[in-house]
Amino acid sequence: MIACLLLIQSACLHPVFAETTTSEGIPKSTDQETAGHSKNVIESFRKISYDTYIEKYKNMAAPNEEILIGAAGYSYAQGMQPEVLDPLKGTEKKSLKTGEEGFVEWEFHVDTEGLYNMSILYFPVEGKDSAIERELWIDGEIPFEGARTLVFQRVWKNGEEVKKDPSGNEYRPYQVESPMWQEAPVSGITSFNDENYKFYFSKGKHTIRLVSVKEPMIIEHIRLYNEEEVASYVAVTAQYNKLGYKSVSSDTKIIKIQGEDAVLKSDSILYPLEDHSSPANEPFSVSKIRMNTIGGYNWRYPGQWLVWEFDVEKEGLYKIGFRAKQDFKSGIFANRRLYIDGKVPFKEAETIQFKYGMGWQMVKAGEDEPCLFYLTKGKHQLKMEVTLGDIGSIIRPVEDCVRELNYIYRKILMITGSFPDPLRDYNIDSQLPESMEIFERQSKLLTETSKKLSEMTGKKGQESFEMEKLATQLNGFIKNPDTIPERLAKFNDNISALGMWILTVAEQPLTIDYLVIAPPEAQLPRGEVSWWEKIVHEMKAFVVSFFENYNIVGDVNTDSKDNPSTNKSKPITLWLGVGRDQAQVLKSLIDNNFTSETGVQVGIRLVDMSVMLRAVAAGEGPDLAIYQDQATPVNYALRSALQDLSEFPDIDEVLKRFSSSAVEPFRIGNSVYALPEQQWFDMMFYRKDILADLGVEPPQTWDDLYKLIPVLQKNHLEIGLPTPFNATAGGTINSIFTTFLYQKDGEIYSQDKSRCILNHNTGVDAFTRWLELYTKYKIPQMMDILTRFRVGEAPIIISPYVFYNSIVVGAPEIKGLWEMAPIPGTRHKDGTIRRDEGGNVTGTIMLKNAKDKEATWEFMKWWTSSDTQVKYGREMEALQGPSARWPTANIDAMWKLPWSAKDAKSIREQWQWVKAVPEIPGGYYTGRNIDNAIRTVVIKGENPRETLLDYVKMINDEIILKRKEFGME
């Protein structure tokens, strides 16, 4: 039926399609599209900001008119197949499901020219749990920068009551999505702008296009309207008097809402937290973990919100207080906007400020005299949202400034290189005439902005320091352009520092213990206990710390009365060598999904993995261990400490979950000694803006890259590869080497894995090509890839794909300017490009003396299953943010993790080329000596072939020795 509908639509809309393509020149082929896109990117640093956009239209009227655009009646779509859905629960109209790629467009008619607010009624349909992101185009172009990233939040809630483990510690409830229809005004809250955007529409026909960046979503309508001004408190009190609202009597019960009981939240990382800093926290226990607060450092980005529900028994005016703590950022306020039942009651509630302080405070809404809120009898909702307050107007221009200065820095760098010759005159001012103009403009802007900031915070220095420093330097540049090359490095530092400042100054963390809704006369509970109570508390906590073992995460319940299932089987012991977060997430997953279904209990212990060997030798080892690095399983297995998993009948079925390259390192002959859990491999990262600037395409093959290197070097730019010169990297075989080797069909070891065969022609060839990168092409032997990529000095980086997460978190200012792609390959005779490379894995092992092997095997299957891996990955990400994205080895699970469609496609494309690096007895000698070989050749300048042959002989000697040890020879 849907297909039919689509057919009809595409048939009748065809003329429109033709019209749009011709009038706006939508590029037809994908190649052109990327080219067009890059062009946008270069210019993006000069793109109009919302402030300039609105300045242009400031005299326009805001007509009191509403235009409703039904989403189902879309006019055109490309790159996705929108689905028109029948009215869903909560709406009466048809809605449109839009995909995670491509775009949809709507056409509509505006009767009155003017400025309009826009809001979108959407439903966050199930996707990959990450925030929904769209670009907004009006009449075929992005009207201003802020419209490039519109974020539509999902709604989350606790997935369970806060539960206690058998030792009495509470653990964090997992978070589940609670999707609902939401009408979201299009605002700049994620682009340092608190306001709801206004858009200008002339009279006549217009189009709105939503380009999918991340996640699918269902849209019901887009509304153009004009919002009402929020009344001031004075006006609202006048209203109270007129309507005869009275304060409730002082004996009315105080309503207390615990922060951790928030019913809805915008982000899965806004889970209940444990705070042990004050005995006045509610609830509280000296020795046990209690989930008693919410927010914290996770609740810092503008736009994140929490919603609480409460019941009012008596109608009337109340005051509202918060027991809160802002001990993260000194010198600034944390701002929150307060909504009651979805509405900001008055202007003063738009920014409630929380001062910095080490302890807990009781903060009232309203400055000296608490503001009063009118509440009717019954259920109410209270929402608190992070807002920027006034700081937004400071950040926005500085953000543009950083972007522009970064651009000009790169331009200068292309002329001078990173170490300019002090004796040479570069004449920057005549070679780059635009630079002087930029310096002058930005220096003026920075000086003004820093003055404004000091006025706002009432303090001079500290916060405005970075700006003043840069402004002074720019003035120096203008006065004395000859000194620019010399001061370039410092200039770069200053820009980076200002960039960091922008990132941090917008963050406004706040922890909330509880909210109080009280009659105006009532005394609010105090924020902090007296110092004496505090000392008593600390003493008690110190004493109990001797009796609590926090290393056992949720011990198994041995009391069979509570849990009848214990009789069925013995508990499994699992060792984990990573953090407590991982252990807790795993524990709650096990309790909810494994133990409840199989009746098998699992005890998790946080252990320093270096004791594992001794523990196993002493017979005290676990039943299984996870997060084991690639070499461990074979090493242990050779010494008969591990269970051969191929003895289980369904092993073949289980191994289908992974790519064969992930299992290969865990094999000895036909036996398998571990199940893969993580797998990662190299991807190529490149800066779209810089490559477009140079007029080059991202390299597809190594030959392309070789051609590109001189172009980059001429402009003093570099490429970054996984380096063999990092002394402390230790032991693994360099991935660029394996790339060269595998792309030419080479192998490290012989067929039966008994000898290293790098001394064959392909091996020597790969080795030579690899070292030529350093000797002939002079690529840097060492670099800090994140910094160089961020400032653009190294626009091409090849690195394991987890680097993606580092960029997202560590360099948000280049968002949209870079891309992840498969690594360069080798073009073969038939024209295909081979992108082979070696990868890395970690695995789960079962010890030979596991007590209950069947149950342990069940657990291993459960743990590596797609479902568990996805849940674990998402919860880790929910807990630690996108930098913790789980590089799962389960192929199916990978596509369900929150990668954008485009990135997932790149990873998928590369993954099929990943080949295993086998693990063999004595294998540690291979990586070590390949590193030694290349260091000897590059640093000491020895003959490559001879050197490699010498080292391969050493490797083989060790392998033979080890093979003899294990009776394999």
Binding site: F419, A641, A727, T728, Q781, M782, N932, R935, I939
Partner: protein, 326 residues
């Protein structure tokens, strides 16, 4: 008082023993010893707890590791007796061990004595400054060795990136054109490790010497001045050093054991194992075999050798120190 009496008893018994001579039957000696033990049972009782702990956790492991050095032992399986094989391999068939041995000697010979004298002179110099500065300076000198892994700042200074401190400095002033790979270039590795180790050498030994200097009273110097001491050097040689002999010995023992048993600095900076084993110490070799190659038997042989080595060097140093100031 009681202790004094015991001391006298000891003196008496020693004289007795000497008089009896050693030729007349060992039986007599044993029965005499047993008698003495019986008489002093309170003392034996008092040191029992320490001896138990010392035996179980120090002596026994040493003995066990010497026994294990004659076996093939991979931790996970029961050891197999293989006689002198490990030692044979160690001496004639392990080039890396010889490399580690020579590195260790160079490393210890430089960092040991130089570090020792540095500590000594630093302690002496600090002793000469005004009282208020003393505490501060002691703290400043001692800080590198108590602040754990603070030496990692050297990996930033000698970062191989073009923006590493040393590299960018050298490039800026035109000494080099391309960054030096400090910790992967063989010829720089050992010297750099030695420099860092010297920087950290103001350890417990230094504190012992500071304590020694602090405990020297003025009366000796005054008396010596009366007796005709001419200058500060003579003061140092004839009074300070002899008076400080016990402290110097403590410091020397601590310093030497630390030099042999510590490979952490080398591993953190130059990697483990380092490029072509240029920074490989005996301790690194031991760890390589015990944790990476899982040949604990062989590792035990190395450790047994290291143990003998340290005892020998300590003896040598103590003999040397006895001659000082005489």
């Amino acid at each position: 008082m009681e202790w004094n009496k015991w001391g006298d008893d000891l003196q008496v018994s020693r004289m007795k023993a000497n008089r009896n001579g050693s030729i007349h039957g060992s039986l007599e000696k044993i029965s005499y010893t047993l008698g003495e033990m019986k008489r002093n049972k309170a003392s034996y009782f008092l040191i029992t707890p320490f001896m138990l702990v010392f035996f179980v956790f120090t002596v026994l492991p040493v003995i066990l590791s010497i026994i294990l050095s004659f076996t093939y032992y991979n931790v996970l399986e029961f050891p197999k007796w293989i006689g002198w094989y490990n030692y044979r391999k160690l001496f004639v068939d392990d080039e890396v061990f010889l490399k580690a041995l020579s590195n260790t000697l160079v490393y210890a010979v430089i960092t040991g004595p130089v570090g020792f004298f540095l500590s000594f002179f630093a302690a002496w110099a600090i002793n000469e400054v005004p009282r208020r500065l003393k505490g501060l300076l002691t703290f400043v000198f001692y800080v590198p060795s108590i602040s754990g892994t603070v030496y990692t700042i050297w990996s930033i200074i000698f970062n191989a990136d073009i923006y590493g401190f040393a590299n960018s400095f050298l490039i800026k002033f035109g000494f080099i054109h391309e960054p030096i790979q400090w910790f992967t270039t063989e010829k720089y590795i050992l010297p750099l490790i030695i420099i860092v180790q010297l920087w950290m050498s103001m350890g417990v030994g230094f504190l012992a010497m500071r304590a020694g200097f602090a405990s020297l009273g003025n009366q000796y110097y005054e008396a010596a001045a009366v007796d005709g001491l001419k200058n500060r050097w003579q003061e140092l040689w004839y009074i300070t050093i002899p008076m400080m002999a016990p402290h110097l010995m403590t410091a020397a023992v601590l310093q030497i054991t630390a030099m042999f048993a510590n490979a952490q600095v080398a591993h953190t900076l130059a990697g483990f194992p380092s490029t072509n084993y240029a920074g490989h110490l005996i301790m690194s070799h031991l760890q390589d075999y015990s944790s990476i190659r899982m040949e604990r038997g062989y590792a035990c042989a190395i450790s047994a050798l290291l143990f003998l080595f340290m005892i020998g060097i300590n003896k040598l140093v103590l003999r040397f120190l006895k001659k000082v100031g005489v």
